[in-house]
């Protein structure tokens, strides 16, 4: 029977209209024994395809449809009519017969990408010959060189080209490809191709050039082609496929189609049988060995490093300590991963010796070896962390533990540079991130292709961009201008196509921090392509494919709060000459926990969100252990798993601690019977369904991915079968437990990771408690990051008694600085002043204070625009002149050439009387020209003074009000959130002059006030108080925009949030 050897998935970007999984499932349903994936110029979908195919019992064949550069063709011969003119690129189908063949295809693809402009990869055909071994080539689609020449009637040219390919790949490895998609000309061309094959003694093979798994998808395929050509369906008739015959067809139908040429069908099977390369098994990846300086084995060297460190950290190696170290070392030895640990150790040493803030994250923090290697700052003995989730006996040998390291932002860039410098681009590559279609872009692309009115599309795209958008059809039904049109073409098709397109890959981007290194050349494992940064390459696989391939990924993530912490410590040292070792910051200071319990947590990473604060106010956090639970508790996993309220109630003794089954008590005892840590999920699955550690881990991994309904069903079946076999719980209880696991698994923290996060939070809290000026100053200089805009942080600093002063050219520097016990804003907060100007200003400041505007203008020689802004912001107030007077004066310096030479004259004499700016004008100027809604000359709420009346309750009074009391509040929108876990609720944090107010809006009101919610920079909310102990929320009944004087809501939103 027939095997499909030419098949595109959606990873043939803007061409293929089905996912690899859809193709595999269709192939299985149609009874295919094997299926090849041949995407255009990449293997981005290959691993996903191979994994899905193996899973569903279809044998995967890996290939590619390679674009060949026409200029590589020997000159002098071309299709008739194309003499001299640049001929278009051609296509060639390549299949990996052997591992060598796969390596060659990967190498060829890398060459194509590295030698071509972005988004137009094409291979110089001269590269084919040295990389032909193990590759089976088919002559390609209509755009293959041979078929195209045949189609154009150039039989001699076609024979010559075919003979050339046959010589490159070998006669039995080059087949003439026959496609009959019921396109006019297919049959005639096939007759010509068969004749050519006979003449040259080449084999023929049938393929269907599959572009979608099901014929109904041909519409999406048409749309994608139009999108690729930046055009409409109407205008792309000549480039679109003419019909819907490019689907994966039943093998029998293909056999019927080629009934007159049975060998073309037989050869599909023969070729498939020859392609024994198995991507899930045959990669030659090897992590670089570690060669110890003294020639010792990596294992011996690792052991020595660990015991040296243990003596240093603990003073003495007790038998207990030694046992635990040896246990971990043995696990590492068994899986031959000493080299991996030592490579990471090297990177951390590099970071430390170069002063780059870094610390481990993730489950590796539970490992004592990682602690001893400096990969984590957490002593697992002290925190009672176990290594099981990170290293265990059941872990498959090729399963590599994750060691993730957080770096401050700049530090991370330097680490990447260091790794590429160390390993070279042949052996290191960044992990890709598949950028997928979301609603707004899908709406725009489909709308444009269908030729729908631009204004309509723009309106819909903007609507769907909103974070509160419902599914497209629902949104359209709610819009009168669309509701009536939805049932007729083209809008009916529009809705369906947008939904189909959503989630499909658009292009490959770069993963946040993943990097792979390989002993064998990476380009033979997976194709690489240039990244946005010169000298760095991205492999074509995302993190899931990389993990499936068994590649060792090192994750270097950016964690700005480390920068915040280290900046603060540097400021403390600079100002007080006090050097604080971050490792030695105490985590058991009661004063620090008292501050946290008061809810004074703004700016402290991991515990500063609205949801965190509300939990903190209800829990009695008194130790780092409590903090570890706290950071893990407010995560989508525990929230969706329904753990938060029971946990709080049980801590408060309002609810008894119970377990779904007594066997869960040892597992969930420390968290009062609820699942909070990821490790607990694994242990619960083991206890209830009898899973092994390895099975439980694969359950967790499977659930942390985008997963299909089918895969989920499989896991559920396995869980229930296990639970029945174990016989501890009935099906209903098993179902309850399974739902908790599913809800949790994707988004929970391992305890070890929570410990690492809590540690950083605890240290920052300590800094905030004892060195608040440094804390705020460092925060401002590390921004942008985190949860709040600078304006909110600055106002909080003021409420805590720390003044944040405006920009002053005689006192400000490039970054914010500490001045006595206040923070002086730096030029980094003035919009429109770039790094160069900042450096210029810092430079000139060394030559002493400026004495006048003239002096400043003459000495700094910066552009007029930044000078004007500084003037407007009051940065030259020392002159004693107000802003308008200074601007007028500045204008005189720019008098037309020749009018008068600029001289240091007493300009005051020239002054005309100008009215001084009002307070309101100054405040609006701050909002315009200072980043992040920071104001130094008034509070945003001053703009609303006229609109505020006695009925508005200020935040500090709200905090004392009783449950159920009616209330009206007003404030600037400090934070607006609609987390997915909140099921349609919207949360606002409003800020008034006295503090923050939390507002909750229920889903039906969110729908009613959608426009207000989306547009408001400041709000008036009428509602009532909802109080739970110390937690106070205002529940919305009505809301309206807070009228502002002198500025617009849009400007305010933009200043604060860039919405």
């Amino acid at each position: 029977m027939y095997v499909e050897l030419h098949c595109h998935s959606c990873f043939s970007f803007r061409e293929g209209a089905s996912s690899p999984a859809e193709l595999v499932l269709a192939a299985r349903a149609l009874g295919y024994e094997a299926l090849a994936l041949t995407d255009h110029d990449n293997l981005a979908g290959a691993m996903e395809f191979a994994q899905a195919a193996k899973e569903w019992g279809v044998r995967p064949i890996i290939g590619v449809e390679m674009t060949l550069r026409p200029d590589g063709r020997p000159s002098g011969r071309g299709a008739p009519g194309s003499d001299g003119a640049a001929s278009p690129p051609t296509h060639l189908t390549l299949l990996a017969e052997t591992p060598r063949g796969y390596a060659n295809i990967s190498r060829l693809l890398s060459q194509a990408h590295l030698s071509s402009p972005r988004d137009a990869p094409a291979l110089d055909p001269a590269e084919l010959a040295p990389c032909a071994e193990g590759v089976i080539a088919l002559s390609g689609c209509r755009n293959g060189e041979v078929p195209r020449l045949v189609g154009a009637g150039d039989v001699e040219g076609a024979c010559e080209a075919a003979a050339r390919y046959a010589a490159i790949f070998g006669k039995r490895n080059f087949y003439i490809e026959l496609q009959d998609n019921f396109v006019r000309g297919d049959r005639a061309r096939n007759r010509g191709l068969v004749a050519l094959a006979r003449r040259l003694g080449l084999g023929v093979v049938a393929t269907n050039n599959v572009h979608y798994h099901d014929r109904a998808r041909h519409r999406l395929q048409d749309v994608l082609v139009a999108v690729r050509h930046h055009s409409t369906l109407d205008a792309t008739e000549h480039v679109r496929r003419q019909n819907a015959e490019f689907s994966l067809k039943p093998p029998a139908e293909m056999a019927r189609l080629f009934a007159e040429l049975p060998e073309a069908v037989a050869n599909t099977r023969a070729i498939a049988a020859r392609c024994t390369f198995d991507l899930t098994r045959d990669l030659t990846y090897r992590f670089p060995d570690f060669r110890a300086p003294d020639g010792r084995s990596a294992d011996a060297f690792l052991e020595a490093v660990c015991f040296d460190a243990a003596r240093e950290y603990y003073g003495r190696v007790t038998p207990d300590l030694e046992r635990r170290i040896r246990h971990e070392l043995e696990l590492i030895r068994q899986s031959a991963q000493a080299g991996f640990f030592l490579r990471n150790w090297e990177i951390m040493r590099y970071a430390r010796t170069h002063g780059l803030p870094a610390r481990g994250r993730g489950s590796s923090v539970g490992s004592l070896v990682c602690y001893l290697l400096g990969l984590s700052g957490i002593d697992p003995l002290k925190y009672n962390l176990f290594v099981g989730r990170f290293l265990n006996e059941a872990r498959r040998k090729e399963d590599v533990p994750d060691i993730d390291i957080d770096f401050a932002r700049e530090a991370r860039e330097r680490i990447f540079a260091h790794v590429f410098a160390t390993y070279g681009s042949e052996h290191a590559a960044l992990v890709a991130n598949v950028i997928t279609y979301r609603y707004p872009m899908a709406v725009r692309d489909v709308g444009k292709a269908l030729g729908l009115p631009e204004a309509d599309i723009d309106k819909l795209a903007k609507r769907m961009r909103g974070r509160f958008a419902r599914p497209l059809a629902e949104e359209m039904r709610a819009m009168p201008e669309f509701a009536s049109r939805m049932e007729a073409p083209p809008w009916r098709e529009f809705v369906r196509l947008v939904e189909e397109l959503r989630g499909m890959p658009r292009h490959l981007g770069q993963h946040a921090g993943g990097i792979i290194i390989s002993d064998t050349p990476i380009v033979e494992q997976v194709p690489v392509q240039p990244s946005a940064m010169a000298g760095r390459y991205i492999c074509q696989w995302d993190k899931d494919s990389v993990a499936d391939a068994g590649f060792i990924k090192m994750d270097f993530l950016g964690y700005p709060s480390l920068g915040h912490l280290y900046r603060a410590l540097a400021l403390i040292e600079e100002r007080r000459g006090l050097r604080i070792d971050p490792v030695r910051i105490p985590l058991d200071d009661p004063e620090v926990y008292a501050m946290i319990r008061r809810g004074d947590i703004l700016g402290i990473v991991q515990i500063q969100s609205r949801a965190q604060l509300q939990a903190i106010l209800r829990l009695d956090i008194a130790s780092i252990e409590d903090l570890v639970v706290q950071v893990a508790l407010i995560r989508p996993g525990p929230i969706q798993g329904g753990a938060v309220n029971p946990y709080i109630a049980r801590c408060q003794g309002r609810e008894p601690v119970t377990y779904d089954h007594p066997c869960l008590e040892p597992i969930l005892g420390e968290t009062k019977g609820v699942i909070i840590f990821q490790e607990q999920v694994l242990e619960v699955a083991m206890a209830i369904a009898g899973f092994t550690a390895g099975q439980a881990e694969s359950l967790r991994r499977a659930m942390s991915r985008k997963r299909s309904r089918e895969e989920m069903e499989k896991l559920r079946d396995a869980f229930f079968a296990g639970a029945r076999a174990k016989g501890l719980v009935d099906d209903a209880t098993a179902a309850v437990i399974f739902e908790k696991i599913v809800a949790f698994a994707a988004f929970g923290f391992p305890k070890a990771h929570a410990a690492a996060m809590a540690e950083t939070a605890g240290k920052l809290a300590w800094v905030k408690r004892y060195y608040p000026v440094e804390f705020y100053c460092a925060w401002l200089n590390e921004w942008p990051f985190g949860f709040y805009s600078p304006g909110v942080i600055v106002n909080e600093a003021r409420r805590n008694g720390i003044e944040v002063l405006g920009v002053d050219v005689n006192r400000s520097r490039g970054l914010c600085v500490i001045e006595d016990d206040a923070v002086r804003l730096g030029y980094n907060y003035v919009r429109g002043i770039g790094a160069q100007t900042r450096a210029r200003l810092d430079d000139e400041a060394r030559h002493g204070p400026y004495v006048s505007l003239w002096d400043f203008w003459r000495r700094t020689r910066i552009e007029r625009m930044p000078i004007e802004r500084l003037v407007r912001l009051g940065a030259l107030a020392f002159t004693g002149l107000h802003e308008r007077a200074l601007l007028w004066q500045l204008g005189l310096f720019y008098r037309p050439l020749g009018a008068q030479l600029p001289l240091a004259l007493p300009y005051e004499a020239d002054l005309v009387p100008l009215t001084e700016m009002t307070d309101g004008e100054r405040l609006v100027t701050d909002l315009r020209f200072i980043e992040g809604a920071v104001t130094t000359r008034g509070h945003i709420m001053d703009l609303a003074r006229g609109a505020l009346h006695e009925g508005v309750t200020p935040s500090h009074v709200v905090d004392r009000m009783a449950d159920g009391a009616p209330v009206t509040v007003a404030g600037f929108v400090a934070v607006r959130q609609a987390p997915e876990t909140a099921k349609g609720f919207v949360f606002h944090t409003l800020e008034d002059r006295y503090g923050l107010i939390n507002v909750i809006t229920k889903p039906h009101l969110v729908a009613r006030y959608q426009r207000v919610i989306e547009h408001a920079g400041a709000l008036i909310v009428h509602g009532h108080i909802e109080r739970q102990e110390r937690v106070v929320n205002v529940v919305t009944e009505r809301m309206e925009l807070l009228p502002l004087a002198g500025t617009r809501h849009r400007a305010l939103r933009h200043a604060a949030h860039n919405w």
Partner: protein, 102 residues
Amino acid sequence: MLTTSGGTGGPDTVRRLNVPQPLRVEAGDDGTPRRVQHRGQTARPGRWRAVDQVRERYRVEDRWWTSEPVAREYFDLLLDGGLPFAVFRDRIDGRWYAQRDG
């Protein structure tokens, strides 16, 4: 399989150029025409003529986003006696048409 075209234009029906003209076709199990009722230049029902050869068979599916979608299977035929003749089956209404007069 025998499909009729439904109503044929009467003598006073004005036929626009290149508007598909319905006709009767007898097709085999595989959907290929065996005989067509060829009308020549007249408006009267023509006589049945055997299909000698199917030179090309192709499908077009287009304009699905409009209210006038197109889904047709075309056959370039050689009729008995060597006359070239093109017909298509409309896959939406199931009827046969000749693309051109003659």
